[in-house]
């Protein structure tokens, strides 16, 4: 008995002694499940200007920094903190100097203006801590007047190389420009760069205009105008600002139009006989098809990116809710299930989310949800937020915010889909109902 016990004890002790060593025979392995969410520090030292490109070099590097900082995903290391100076585009980068100021990404570039006035801009993106280039160097050539677009294109490249998803800086926004008091507000269509620069008016304010929507290629704009006394849908060619009315029945109201992803079809609402339903129309032939036939109000339709489905709002349940139906017609399924009223749904260009307006407890919100209605997340809250539109990369939402009171004015705001980086978009006067173009 004693001998057996001793043998067992010896076996146990031998095993215990061997265990720690056995646990350390491989590499130390740990799982990291928590991190931080903060802007990534970057530096854009002034591009090297040659010829007469000195001012353009400064302007372009400043605009690239502004684009990246404006996303909320990046934080600029100010030039005053830089240790290294970039004096030649081809010189090696002193990574230690940039590490010292905690710049994790570095953008270097050079600008040249030749005798004919052509602007040539070269740039490189560096991963400072890896000590290597992200992607490869690239060059843009354009006119001096087009320096902003060149800067936006470079910023898009930098954004894409660091985050792994497309940018949205070289894009434009069409919106309704508003002037005058609330009871006599003049509205006309305006178009601008995504950051508010280069505003141009597309219509005059002689008649009320609503809900402009870009085509998938950005060359046309749908909008609703009261020019004829009834709301009618027009399509405007952006290149020459010519327009034509889409054919609809007389004495009916058509509104809330949007393009299909292939740009050949328009989905819209049509009110006839006191009932509002959703229709589609082939732009080329003018033939239309009724998609819903309910006694309730169906409006604000929006195609999914693959064109297979349509999301819209309806009050068929007694309150405004969101529904999804096949673009070929058929039964619609309700996807919104929270308290309050939902409206103006817009499908994300990525196809994974639907943005919407929600009214609940005397507050308006911009929110996002999965396409099946799950994971609803409210991003904003104010007296009046409405009309979301997606950035081309599906990461940012722009919308209208109107302040309270007789002196209240509408303005454009943008917010990241995480709810961070809420900021006002600079516009010339009041602005509402934005529509974001695709990348140019």
């Amino acid at each position: 008995m004693m001998a057996r016990f001793t043998a067992l004890l010896a076996l146990l002790l031998t095993t215990l002694t061997a265990l720690p060593a056995a646990a350390q025979t491989g590499p130390l392995r740990l799982e990291i499940t928590e991190g931080v969410i903060e802007p990534l520090p970057f530096a854009v030292p002034a591009f090297v200007g040659t010829g007469s490109g000195g001012q353009a070099a400064q302007d372009i590097s400043n605009l690239i920094s502004a684009d990246l900082s404006g996303t909320g995903l990046f934080r600029e290391i100010p030039a005053s903190a830089h240790i290294s100076r970039i004096t030649s585009f081809s010189s090696p980068v002193q990574f230690a100097d940039w590490k010292a100021v905690n710049a994790q990404a570095l953008v270097t570039g050079a600008v040249d203006v030749d005798a004919s006035g052509r602007l040539t801009v070269q740039f490189r993106v560096w991963d400072v801590f890896a000590g290597q280039e992200l992607g490869s160097g690239q060059q843009f050539v354009g006119t001096q007047d087009g320096w902003r677009r060149i800067a936006h294109k470079i910023a898009d490249q930098v954004y894409s190389r660091i985050t792994g998803e497309g940018g949205y800086f070289d894009s434009r926004v069409v919106y309704v420009s508003e002037t005058g008091p609330k009871d006599q507000r003049a509205k006309r269509l305006a178009i601008m760069d995504y950051d508010g620069a280069n505003t141009t008016f597309l219509t005059d304010s002689s008649s009320l205009v609503l809900a402009p929507r870009f085509s998938p290629t950005g060359d046309r704009i749908l909008y609703t105008s009261y020019e004829s006394g009834f709301p009618k849908i027009y399509v405007l060619d952006v290149a020459n600002v010519s327009r034509r009315q889409l054919p609809t029945q007389e004495a009916t109201m058509s509104f809330a139009p949007r393009f299909s992803p292939n740009g050949q079809t328009v989905v819209y609402s049509l009110e006839a006989g006191g009932n509002t339903d959703i229709y589609t129309m082939n732009i080329g032939s003018g033939s239309s098809q009724r998609m819903t036939s309910a006694p309730s109000i169906e409006t604000a339709p929006s195609f999914s990116p693959d064109g297979a489905q349509i999301v819209f709002e309806s009050d068929r349940s007694g309150s405004n809710q969101l529904y999804v139906m096949s673009s070929g017609g058929g039964e619609a399924r309700r996807i919104s299930n929270g308290d309050g009223n939902y409206g103006t749904p817009v499908w994300s260009p990525r196809g994974d989310l639907i943005a919407f307006t929600k009214q609940s407890k005397s507050r308006f919100h911009i929110g996002v949800m999965r396409t099946d209605g799950s994971e609803e997340r409210l991003l904003t809250a104010s007296f009046l937020d409405e009309g979301p539109t997606w950035a081309p990369n599906g990461r940012v939402i722009m919308f209208t915010r109107e302040t309270q009171g007789e002196q209240g004015q509408a303005g454009l705001y943008s917010v990241d889909i995480t709810g961070r980086n809420l900021r006002r978009v600079s516009t010339a006067g009041g602005a509402s109902d934005p529509s974001w173009s695709p990348l140019q």
């Binding site: 990534l40 007047d145 320096w147 005059d204 290149a239 407890k361 005397s362």
Partner: protein, 384 residues
């Protein structure tokens, strides 16, 4: 049944009866604290929410004037980007200027008198009404999100990953001390708080009641033992138990057989690799984990990259700094090659950045942490 059992039964019955009816269990209810609460109506709540979320809190950017003359479209061409130039809105047709704003009306002059207002002195022992909620503006949640909440540093404190008190020169000291500013980590919240969520938390969470009197203070509860310490104790090696027990004099053959089998099994194990050595304690492992995760920034990762788990291996020098050239991706799950590359870049930056000062691991256990494999799993970061 004998007499003893009868006596025992009677005694137990008596004891039970005394417990039930004799007052062993007092009927007096236990003391409990009563706290007055204040109900807030829905209108008042809406007013509170409205005040704390007005759009004026966001940064206002003065709108630039619209250009009078539409600019020509830039004629862009590129060697790498050959997309056709997009059509440009060259001009507005029949655009009419905005109506000029009406001039502001003249402000009425306020009537001012030289007589100072008479202030009634308060009556003695008059009770003063104090607001039940603080009127101070609420602080916005920190933009930075980290595993642990970090309060904003003092105004004169520089932001740094290392907490350091301000150092001033001391002329009386034998060795002069170098002057240095105080540093503290950047403020951080544990999750993203949207504007909509801010509105929900704008309601008062605590009433500002007077503090309890000192004689009612109860001793503070003892903090619970740290799990790390427990784990460290459990994992601490105990070399003294390694001594073999003396063999008994009897039945030596079976004992020797058992020992031979045990030792033979031990000698059959493969030779320890380069990492053989004393193991790291759980606390030391946690220290390394926390150091890396404090630099693992997922804020700029794409949605696809946030669905990608990457395993990264690297080697460390004896001063516990990662050797940059040794960092490599062993594998990835849940994403595309592109998203894995983005996730790996973020992981590599975290290792290099926070390893620059060394991870502070015990040198005597170098063999245990010389080679490291870290699995970066962003699942929790997707729902922040």
């Amino acid at each position: 049944m004998n007499t003893g059992q009868i006596i025992s039964g009677a005694g137990h019955l008596g004891l039970i009866a005394w417990i039930l009816f004799g007052g062993a269990f007092p009927t007096k209810p236990l003391d409990f604290d009563v706290t007055k609460v204040t109900a807030v109506s829905s209108e008042e709540y809406a007013a509170i929410v409205s005040r704390s979320n007005s759009p004026e809190q966001t940064s206002e950017i003065s709108p630039p004037a619209a250009p009078d003359v539409p600019q020509d479209s830039p004629d862009l061409s590129s060697e790498a980007d050959t997309a056709p130039a997009a059509p440009q809105p060259d001009t507005a047709t029949e655009a009419t200027p905005d109506p000029a704003p009406e001039p502001p009306t003249e402000a009425q002059e306020a009537e001012v008198t030289d007589e100072a207002p008479v202030i009634e002195p308060p009556a003695e022992d008059m009770a003063a009404l104090v607001p039940e909620t603080s009127q101070r503006p609420q602080q916005r949640p920190a933009e930075r999100v980290a595993p642990q909440q970090v309060d904003p540093p003092a105004p004169d404190t520089a932001v740094d990953e290392v907490v350091r008190e301000e150092a001033v020169p001391d002329e009386t000291a034998e060795t002069p001390r170098e002057e240095a500013d105080a540093t503290a980590p950047e403020a951080a919240a544990t999750e993203i708080v949207t504007e909509a969520e801010e509105a929900e938390v704008a309601a008062p969470l605590n009433s500002v009641r007077p503090k309890t009197r000192p004689d009612q203070l109860r001793p503070a509860p003892q903090p619970e033992a740290q799990p790390e310490a427990q784990t460290q104790t459990a994992e601490a090696p105990e070399p003294e138990v390694a001594e073999p027990a003396p063999a008994p004099a009897t039945d030596t053959s079976s004992v020797e057989d058992a020992l031979a089998a045990a030792l033979g099994g031990a000698t059959d194990t493969p030779a320890p690799s380069i990492n053989a050595g004393p193991p790291l304690t759980a606390g030391e492992k946690d220290g390394l984990r926390v150091a890396v995760q404090s630099c693992w920034n997922t804020g700029s990762l794409s949605s696809d990259a946030l669905n990608t788990t990457v395993t990264v291996a690297f080697e460390m020098s004896e001063d516990a700094r990662p050797i940059d050239g040794s960092i490599r991706m062993l594998g990835s799950t849940g994403g595309t090659d592109g998203s894995a590359s983005q996730a790996y870049e973020a992981a590599r930056r975290a290792i290099i950045r926070c390893g620059a000062r060394g991870f502070g691991l015990p040198a005597e256990k170098y063999a245990s942490w010389r080679n490291v494999e870290l699995v970066f799993n962003p699942e929790n970061m997707r729902i922040k």
